[in-house]
Symmetry: C2
Subunit: 133 residues, 2 copies
């Protein structure tokens, strides 16, 4: 059915390389457009199936909390993002992971906290420069 497992194909391998090889936090369509240049008849469905599979296996991260379409991140280490409200670009931040707050919430609220997502937004340094008026 629609689920992709652990078998390695040239499509899956390419998709993984593309996501791992960029810092642009790409959308599925970006991956599709890039992939077509090396496998011209790859389908968008295959891109989605493999992005989901790779995310489930923990090899990439899906970040579906910033805007309309999902973005993917090849860096699965704990880190935070800054999203520019003007140009939409997603920057990585070198901010130290806030470890203590998970315990704080867990103790205060009695939920089992698996982790947190933290995202900053505003106007990025590039857009600040082009500031018109």
């Amino acid at each position: 059915m629609g689920v992709v497992g652990t078998r390695m194909t040239k499509q899956k391998s390419l998709i993984l390389d593309l996501v791992k090889g960029t810092k642009c936090h790409p959308t599925a369509d970006w991956v599709y457009q890039e992939a077509r240049q090396q496998i011209p008849d790859i389908s968008l469905g295959t891109v989605y199936r493999n992005l989901n599979a790779l995310a489930n296996q923990g090899m990439i991260r899906e970040m579906n909390y910033a805007g309309t379409s999902s973005r993917y991140d090849g860096d699965v280490s704990q880190h935070y993002h800054f999203v520019c409200q003007d140009c939409g670009f997603v920057y990585d931040l070198p901010l130290e992971p806030l470890k203590a707050i998970d315990d704080l919430v867990e103790n205060q609220e009695n939920h089992k906290v698996a982790g947190h997502r933290l995202e900053f937004y505003g106007r990025c340094k590039s857009c600040k420069i082009q500031e018109k008026q």
Copy 2:
């Protein structure tokens, strides 16, 4: 066109009341289903138009960073959420707003930081109890 302004209608007033009157961080469809019970022929388009208008006017908050469909929050004060990965319920957290980190990122990265979103996830206290094995 598709944009709703400042005129008050019974639809808009009802939608505002519904969002303000619940702590369930409802989706547009939840608001629609509730609204139909009082205005049977209200349309889903009107619900979306008014939710967008109310969010633009700062009277409610759109939270489109947790899952597939947008949720809305009648509490516009700065606060954080815990999202249960099992049941999907969104809890408010009494955690103190982290004010200092915006400045930290702004100074470190030279972006203009307007704010941040912080969301915790895991298994909520209700789902923990029903834990099978």
